[in-house]
Symmetry: C2
Subunit: 336 residues, 2 copies
DNA sequence: CTTACTTTCGAAAGCGCTTTCGTTACTTGT
DNA sequence: ACAAGTAACGAAAGCGCTTTCGAAAGTAAG
C-alpha cells in the first residue's frame, strides 16, 4: 500500500506538505502542489479512510437501521424506496451508508454500541413501531439521528401527513356516494397505523358519517395476509360496508383478494383504497386507488435533516411532514 | 471517548494486557481478566473500529455495488431480496455492509478506488449487464469479489440455472398443448436475458417446436413498459402465439396488461409465464405462473463464496449455479 | 540450591494520517 | 538599510489500537 510517506519520499517534500496538498491547504506553492499531485497520480495513491477517521473523528459514514415488524429488511417496498432516495441525497455530500449487524467480535451488542464502535457520523432509522428499545436508546444518545415514519420529541423525524391522507381517502369515497366506509388499520403499535386510524375517525366525523365499531378492524402488520383476514371479518357483517380504506397497499391487496374469493368484485361491489402507492399498486387488478407517499421527498428531507445536524455537530430536533396525494385508479367507483 | 488507556489506568495494568483480554489472548490470568472486564463494563468502553482496522488491516466490512440497468438500486425487487439474504448470512460472521458512493473528498472515483479507500475486506457485485467497465475493474483487482447474476472467469459468481428455467417454462407450456410459444427476452446486454433466450431456443428445439423470428422479441431492460411494448408487437402478428414466456416477472406483468388492453384474457386467450417469482407475482391478477429464483439461496451461496476468499486471503474463482423451480399459478392454461 | 520451564505481564514500535506551531527565506515599505 | 510582514515548508505529537519480544516471577525437576 502506498502511503503519504512514499509520495513524500518520492517528491522530496515532507509528509506534512503532502497531506496539505491532499487537503487543499493554501500554504503550499503552486509548483510543489503540481509535483505532489503528479506523484499521487503516478503512484496510484489513495488515502486510507481509517487512518483519516482516526485523526479527524469523522468517518463520512451514515449508519442505517431497519426496524420493521415484517422482518423483511431492505425488501420492504416503501422503506427501500425511501432509503434509496436518502442514499442518493447523502452521496452527493460524500457519505456512504453502513448497514450494520449487531455483533462486535462475536458479542451481541445494541445498534447504538455498534454505531459508536463504527464511528458513524449519524444514523437514519427506518422504524414503524413505537417504543422499540433499540430505537429509544439511539435517539436518546447525542449522536445525530433522523427517524423516518415515526414521531418523537427527542429526534428529528420525517413522516407523511397521515391525517391528510386519511381525509383524502374518506372524502374521495364519500364523493362517490359511499357512506358505509370501513377501515383496515395497521397494527396499533405502529405510528403510521395509529395516525391513519385517528385520521379516519376524524374525517368521517367531519362528514357526519357513522363508524360502527365493527367497521374498524385490525390488519396486523401491514401484511397481505393481515389485509385478507381483516376483510373476511368485514364481509361477514350483516350490514356490510360498501367501501374500505386500508392503511397500506399490502392490506388493500389482501382485502381485494378476500373480496374476490367471496365472488364479489372491486369496485362494482366494494370500493377499496390503499395507502403508500407502492410500485405495484398500478399493476394489480384492478389498479389500486391509493394515497401516495412521496418516498423521494421523504428520503431527501430526512437526508437534509440529518446532514444539518452532522454539520452543526449537535443532534437537534426538527420535524418535517411530507404531503401526500390521492391517486385515483380503478379500485374505487360509485356506490352500487 | 474512553480508550484502552483509560481502562489501563483504572485497573493498573498496561494497555497491552487490556488489549489482550479484549482479544482473548491466553497469556492473561483469570483474575486480571475479570478485573479488566469489569472495568470495561463500568466505563462503558467500546473499541474503535478504525484504530483496530488501521493496525490489523481488516475492516469487517463488505462493499456492495448495484449495477443494474433500471437505475433503481435497492428498489430492485429481485436484487434487494438477494442482498437481504446475503446480509443476514455475513452478519453472522460479524461483517457489515457498506453502500458506497463514488466520490472521495469530492472527487469522482471508481468503485474500486472507493473500496480500496474504505479498506473493505471484499465486495459483492450485483450486476445484470455484461461488460460494465467498473465491474471489470473490480473483478480484475486482487480484492475478493463475488458477482451475482453474471458469469466471469475472473471472479467467483453465482447465478440461477437459467437454461433449466427456460426449459421448465417451455415444457410446462407445451404440456398444456401450446406449440406457438413466443419469448419476451431481456436486454441482450444482460447475462440473464441472454441465457434465458438461448435456453428458450434450446428447449423449443428439444421439443421440435418451431420458433419464427418474430416470436422472439426484445423486452428491453426487464421493465413493465418493455414487456407491454413487446407484447403489443406480438399481438399484431397475423399468426399470434398462444403462449408467451417472459424473461422476467415485470416483463410478464407488462405483457398481461397489454393483453388485457386488447380485450383478450389470460390465460383463456393467451398463457404467460414469467421469471423470478418476485413477491408480487402471486398477488397480481391472474396470479403469475413463473420460474422461481431462490433469492435466499443465491444470497447465502454468494456470501459463502466471498467469505471463503476473505478467509484464504486470496481471490479465487468459483461458480455456483442455483436451481430454479416452476411455480404454477393462474396465468397459464390449456391452449384454446 | 540450581536449572529449566511456564505464566503473566509490559515497553515500544508501528499502522497512515492530520494539525499545530515553528522556522526559514523572501518581500515590502520607509 | 532595517523592521515588519508574508509565503512556504517541516518536526513532532497524537488519534486508539495490536503485536512482537523480552523480562520477571513463579514452579517443577534434578
Amino acid at each position: 500500500m502506498v502511503t503519504i510517506y512514499d509520495i513524500a519520499k518520492k517528491t522530496g517534500f515532507s509528509v506534512t506538505t503532502v497531506s496539505k496538498v491532499l487537503n487543499n491547504y493554501s500554504d503550499v506553492s503552486e509548483k510543489t502542489k503540481k509535483a505532489i499531485k503528479a506523484a499521487v497520480e503516478e503512484m496510484d495513491y489513495l488515502p486510507n479512510s481509517h487512518a483519516r477517521t482516526l485523526t479527524t473523528k469523522k468517518s463520512w459514514t451514515i449508519g442505517v437501521v431497519f426496524i420493521e415488524s415484517l422482518g423483511i429488511g431492505v425488501k420492504h417496498p416503501f422503506f427501500n424506496a425511501v432509503i434509496e432516495s436518502f442514499r442518493q441525497e447523502v452521496e452527493i455530500e460524500g457519505y456512504d451508508l453502513l448497514f450494520v449487524s449487531r455483533n462486535i467480535s462475536n458479542q451481541k451488542k445494541s445498534y447504538l454500541d455498534h454505531f459508536r464502535y463504527r464511528g458513524v457520523d449519524g444514523v437514519v432509522i427506518v422504524c414503524s413501531t413505537y417504543d422499540d428499545e433499540q430505537v429509544k436508546e439511539l435517539i436518546e444518545d447525542p449522536i445525530p439521528t433522523v427517524v423516518i415514519d415515526m414521531s418523537s420529541d427527542q429526534s428529528s423525524v420525517v413522516y407523511s401527513d397521515n391525517y391528510e391522507g386519511s381525509r383524502l381517502a374518506v372524502d374521495h369515497l364519500q364523493s362517490l356516494g359511499h357512506t358505509r366506509i370501513a377501515h383496515i388499520a395497521g397494527h396499533e403499535s405502529t405510528f403510521a397505523g395509529e395516525q391513519r386510524k385517528k385520521g379516519f375517525y376524524q374525517a368521517m366525523k367531519a362528514l357526519n358519517l357513522e363508524v360502527p365499531d365493527e367497521y374498524v378492524v385490525n390488519g396486523d402488520y401491514f401484511s397481505i395476509e393481515g389485509g385478507a383476514r381483516a376483510m373476511k371479518s368485514l364481509l361477514e357483517l350483516e350490514k356490510r360496508p360498501t367501501a374500505v380504506y386500508a392503511a397500506g397497499d399490502s392490506l388493500a391487496m389482501g382485502a381485494i383478494n378476500a373480496i374476490n374469493e367471496q365472488g364479489l368484485r372491486v369496485p362494482e361491489d366494494l370500493s377499496v383504497v390503499g395507502y403508500d402507492d407502492i410500485e405495484l399498486a398500478q399493476y394489480i387488478h384492478p389498479a389500486l386507488t391509493t394515497i401516495r407517499q412521496q418516498t423521494d421527498l421523504i428520503g431527501q428531507e430526512s437526508a437534509k435533516l440529518l446532514l444539518k445536524q452532522i454539520d452543526c455537530k449537535e443532534s437537534y430536533v426538527a420535524c418535517t411532514q411530507v404531503p401526500v396525494e390521492l391517486i385515483i385508479r380503478k379500485s374505487t367507483g360509485p356506490v352500487a
